[in-house]
């Protein structure tokens, strides 16, 4: 069953086209990867999906709902979450608190209740803590829960972003280059983590430069070049697609 569908997406900044007439659909429960050289429009695609950019044309539908005109937080409320290529960790909080923010949509307490710290608030806090520790454990960060987020090394920050996204109990997780900057061991850990997420029934949209990782775990792959769809299919199909080879290795091969 299709969970995410993009139809004729367009995005241009001034005269520069970042994404042109792009259509694709993601099936529930799969790992769907988007690859392409730098500047192919991958992050632009992510930012349109999350409401950070408004598409110049076309539409994105998620679980049957048109996302047009929705603000980022409303899109998040549909069950979409994401991680960031340039880390967007809350450095002013502890690791646990970062993840607790992820539980935002699963809880209700507003300013007034919080100010009075009613018993319901204390109960809810306990629940949030539990959920967050669970997400941290899944990402192998539970031992760092009380550290300042700013004191974590890069690889763990990447996993922290995933834990935070998980805490929001998403149906759909968009990951922007989760393996970038990681060493080999960390990359393996990351691959395992992504697979665990899939096992939990989360649909994953993955942007990644590490071809090994992409080809190993993806169900389907979309190749972007200069904002246009070059190819789409299983890893094997894509690897053998002449257009893709041309785009990656150049004209003469």
């Amino acid at each position: 069953m299709t969970i995410l569908q993009a139809v004729n997406l367009d995005k241009h900044f001034g005269g520069v086209a970042a994404v042109t007439d792009l259509s694709f659909s993601v099936t529930e429960g799969e790992i769907y990867s988007v690859i392409g050289p730098n500047g192919a429009g991958k992050t632009t695609l992510f930012n349109m999906l999350c409401g950070y950019y408004v598409p110049s044309g076309g539409s994105i539908t998620f679980a049957g709902k048109d996302l047009a005109g929705m603000e980022t937080h409303q899109i998040a409320a549909q069950g979409i979450s994401r991680t960031f290529q340039n880390l967007q960790v809350f450095y002013n909080m502890t690791v646990l608190e970062n993840v607790m923010v992820g539980c935002h949509m699963r809880t209700r307490t507003g300013l007034i209740k919080a100010a009075l710290r009613l018993p319901s608030v204390i109960r809810e806090e306990r629940q949030v803590r539990e959920w967050s520790l669970e997400a941290l454990t899944l990402c192998g960060l539970e031992h760092l829960a009380d550290r300042e987020a700013g004191s974590l090394p890069y690889g763990e920050l990447k996993r922290l972003e995933i834990a935070r996204a998980l805490a929001s109990d998403p149906k759909f997780l968009a990951m922007d280059e989760p393996a970038a900057g990681l060493n080999d061991t960390e990359t393996v850990e990351m691959r395992q983590l992504i697979q665990r997420l899939k096992e939990r029934g989360i649909t994953i949209l993955l942007v990644e430069h590490n071809m090994g990782l992409v080809m190993q775990i993806s169900d389907r792959v979309l190749v972007l070049g200069f904002g246009c769809l070059l190819a789409e299919g299983t890893p094997q199909e894509v690897q053998n697609n002449p257009a893709v080879i041309k785009a990656y290795l150049g004209e003469d091969v």
């Binding site: 992050t43 930012n47 950070y52 960031f84 290529q85 340039n86 967007q88």
Partner: protein, 298 residues
């Protein structure tokens, strides 16, 4: 009926002329804000104090018997030195401080400079002779004093000069490079520290000139800089922070708004009118009239 229209028209001409003259001083102060902001990302709330120090130095030097033209030059030099020291002793050591922290530092500097001026010159209000006399000049329907013309003329020259400096000279371009990316500028061999120092000096000097120009009309005292500083800040924001020419335009617009507001609507509410319009502009253009919106990469 016709004569009434004519009268109204004449009045508006006078308001515009006055507004442009007031606005020119705001423009110069705003220009100072923009130059420092461009080079270091700091909004210098002590900018108004440069204006005050310029005028007070002239008064002090005249009192000590220094001839007028020389006093003007020495005053600019003194204030430039103050600008250098502000950068050296307050901004440089606080590198990496948050935006609010730098705001507090520069506000602290402005209080300190005011305190120093109080100790040196006392609390009196001082007058300063006009550059070329007080005899009113009739220009069309507007009456101005020669000092108004000096203000507008020197503002035009300074603005063109600053523009030339940043567009055409190597140092100017180097400062702009620092404002875009300090690390990169450092890597290509630009002495970032020196460029910062230059821009603080330049901006202090422009502030001092504004002080010399306005004092013969509006007098000066140790606390004369605060209000001008605020107006200059408003001008810089209205134009779009970081755009020098925007700050100049912002200053002129602010001056004309005030003058028209005072003349046509209500003199008591003229500042409020000006601020309401600034807020309205920001509402529709959150980065000012000539500022550009930067998009964060995520």
């Amino acid at each position: 009926m016709l004569s009434e229209v004519k009268l109204m028209f004449d009045q508006i001409i006078q308001f515009l002329a006055t507004g442009l003259s007031i606005g020119s001083t705001y423009a110069l102060v705003g220009l100072g804000f923009a130059i420092i902001y461009n080079a270091s990302g700091v909004v210098n709330f002590a900018q108004g104090e440069f204006v005050m120090l310029g005028a007070m130095s002239v008064v002090g030097l005249l009192g000590a018997g220094v001839p007028y033209p020389l006093a003007l030059l020495v005053a600019i030099a003194i204030v430039t030195l103050v600008g250098f020291s502000l950068n050296k002793f307050a901004i440089e050591p606080a590198r990496g401080a948050s935006v609010v922290a730098t705001i507090i530092i520069t506000i602290g500097a402005s209080i300190l400079l005011r305190g120093a001026a109080l100790l040196i010159w006392g609390k009196d209000i001082f007058s300063m002779p006009a550059f070329t006399g007080d005899e009113p000049i009739q220009i069309g329907a507007a009456t101005l004093v020669p000092q108004n013309l000096w203000i507008m003329g020197i503002t035009v020259i300074l603005v063109l000069g600053v523009r030339y400096f940043f567009d055409k000279t190597l140092i100017g371009k180097a400062i702009l490079a620092c404002s875009c990316n300090k690390t990169a500028a450092g890597l290509v061999g630009i002495n970032v520290k020196l460029m910062l120092l230059t821009s603080y000096g330049l901006s202090a000097a422009i502030g001092a000139v504004a002080g010399l120009l306005i004092a013969p009309i509006a007098f000066t005292s140790f606390d004369a800089g605060t209000m001008l500083g605020l107006k200059g800040f408003a001008a810089a924001i209205l134009g779009g922070m970081g755009s020098s020419m925007g700050a100049v335009a912002g200053g002129l617009v602010l001056g004309v708004l005030e003058s028209l507001g005072a003349g046509l609507i209500s003199s008591g509410y003229k500042d409020a009118i000006a601020f309401v319009i600034i807020l309205a502009v920001l509402f529709f253009k959150p980065s000012g009239l000539f500022g550009f919106k930067s998009v964060d990469r995520v």
